[in-house]
């Protein structure tokens, strides 16, 4: 299908982009890479009056690491994350996840800010940012603010973003040596939206897990931090029994719903299986 007609503006800087958004309110939509948005336009699931293309706002791009903090500009493309040595070193979770985000042609245009703003519950990067306990930097008419990832994702495609606001960057602490990470998802075809996925980060104290952040995606209305499963791991070594206890406690942590390709029971089954796979792999890699 073809989109409904819309107007188009390409602001040169952030201030102009925010001004345009303020002028048009809900009738204006920001477009970055457009890899989710244009599909929804083509299917006429959305029909804004004007697209505000932020692709020319150079200040929103790039990856910086300083003082143990990683900062990724909102316009940074999946491809840039995939090719980044800094991401490989300081955010191995993202490095592992990014090759499972859609397909190469889509990763060449899709952006981290777009993925987080769209907040698809089956998307990889929102889950990673939550597992990284990161923060979302947001710009609006009143200046900039930061929101913890745990407070940002509200529900199905719902976030903390206000009407006139835009994501400018995501930030999180670079992984120190005591963190172990793992990522896996199950999809019908490599690169398709997951039926279930897990982004896992564990802080180890010797053989024992000191802190666990297990974030499941495509099994709820937003990325889900599994507190019960994490609690089963904390204080214990990653033995097969501990891993099984974590998998079992997902029955309480998660309440998946049926979708087109999988029932709630199947999603829960897949989440338990991913727990075994990812944690077993981390256990094998632990010192």
């Amino acid at each position: 299908m073809k989109p409904s007609p819309f107007a188009y503006a390409k602001p040169a800087d952030l201030a102009e982009a925010l001004r345009l958004k303020a002028d048009h309110g809900d009738d204006g939509t920001f477009i970055a890479g457009g890899q989710s948005l244009v599909a929804t336009l083509n299917m006429r699931l959305s029909s804004p009056e004007i697209l505000i293309d932020i692709g020319g706002v150079a200040e929103l791009s790039g990856i910086e690491v300083s003082d143990g903090q990683v900062r990724i500009g909102a316009l940074t493309r999946h491809r840039d994350l995939e090719d980044s040595a800094q991401i490989q070193t300081h955010a191995p979770l993202i490095a592992e996840a990014i090759t499972q985000v859609a397909h190469p042609a889509i990763r060449n245009r899709g952006t981290i800010g777009g993925s987080i703003a769209f907040a698809d519950p089956a998307a990889e990067l929102p889950a990673c940012i939550l597992a990284l306990d990161g923060a979302i930097e947001i710009a609006g008419a009143d200046g900039r603010r930061k929101v913890a990832a745990g407070d940002f994702f509200k529900g199905l495609y719902e976030t903390d973003l206000g009407a006139g606001e835009m994501i400018t960057a995501v930030e999180f602490a670079a992984d120190s040596d005591d963190w172990r990470t793992g990522f896996d998802e199950l999809a019908r075809r490599h690169g398709d939206y997951a039926m279930a996925g897990l982004a896992a980060r564990l802080r180890m104290d010797g053989e024992a897990v000191a802190e666990a952040r297990l974030v499941y995606f495509a099994v709820g209305d937003k990325p889900m931090l599994a507190a019960g499963a994490g609690g089963e791991l904390t204080g214990n070594s990653l033995s097969p029994e501990t891993i099984e206890a974590a998998a079992a406690s997902l029955d309480n942590d998660l309440e998946p719903f049926d979708d087109l390709h999988s029932s709630a029971a199947m999603k829960l089954h897949l989440a338990r299986e991913l727990t075994r796979r990812v944690l077993t792999q981390i256990a094998g890699g632990a010192p």
Binding site: M1, K2, P3, S4, P5, F6, A7, Y8, K10, I31, G34, Q35, V38, A39, L41, N42, M43, E49, L51, D53, G55, R79, T99, A102, H103, P104, A105, I106, N108, R109, R189, H190, G191
Partner: protein
């Protein structure tokens, strides 16, 4: 409300200036305004890969990129890559090894394969399958396409 916007792009090495509707996709622009019908329109929501073209040297979905977003860029289509000879060995191997049947997916498949071999001159079959996973073929069952890409990778390394 939907005013036309003037864009200028290098398409297959030629400078092109046109007034476009903001809602026109890049692949529709190429096909309808420039009569470059080698890029195909399949699903129109980024799933099938038939519309794959190069934008500033990298593959993109022609259906998920707007023509207005191509302003100031370099666009290459299967026509340009055929004329330059850049993918001649891939095209030859696709024919030789029966990786083309109806041909609908072939332009997108060839451009995707070209980017894979640029980035990874020695992919194994799993890596080939992962890289072309975003391009549907409903004829071949993929086996012969993987054969053709693997063969060209080897031939390029040997030459």
């Amino acid at each position: 409300m939907s005013n036309r916007i003037t864009i200028t792009a290098q398409v297959n090495g030629e400078k092109v200036t046109r007034d476009v509707e903001p809602r026109q996709s890049l692949v529709d622009f190429l096909r309808e305004e420039l009569e470059l019908t080698g890029s195909h329109v399949g699903c129109e929501h980024g799933v099938c890969g038939a519309c794959t073209v190069r934008l500033n040297g990298e593959i993109v979905r022609g259906c998920l990129t707007l023509a207005v977003q191509a302003d100031g860029t370099e666009v290459e289509t299967v026509e340009g890559l055929s004329e330059s000879g850049e993918i001649a060995d891939l095209q030859d191997a696709f024919l030789r090894l029966n990786a083309i049947q109806c041909g609908f997916c072939s332009p997108g498949m060839l451009i995707t394969a070209a980017e894979l071999l640029d980035r990874n001159p020695a992919p194994d079959r799993t890596q080939i399958r992962e890289f072309i996973a975003g391009n549907y073929c409903r004829c071949t069952g993929y086996q012969t396409i993987v054969d053709a890409i693997e063969t060209v990778a080897k031939e390029r390394r040997d030459s």
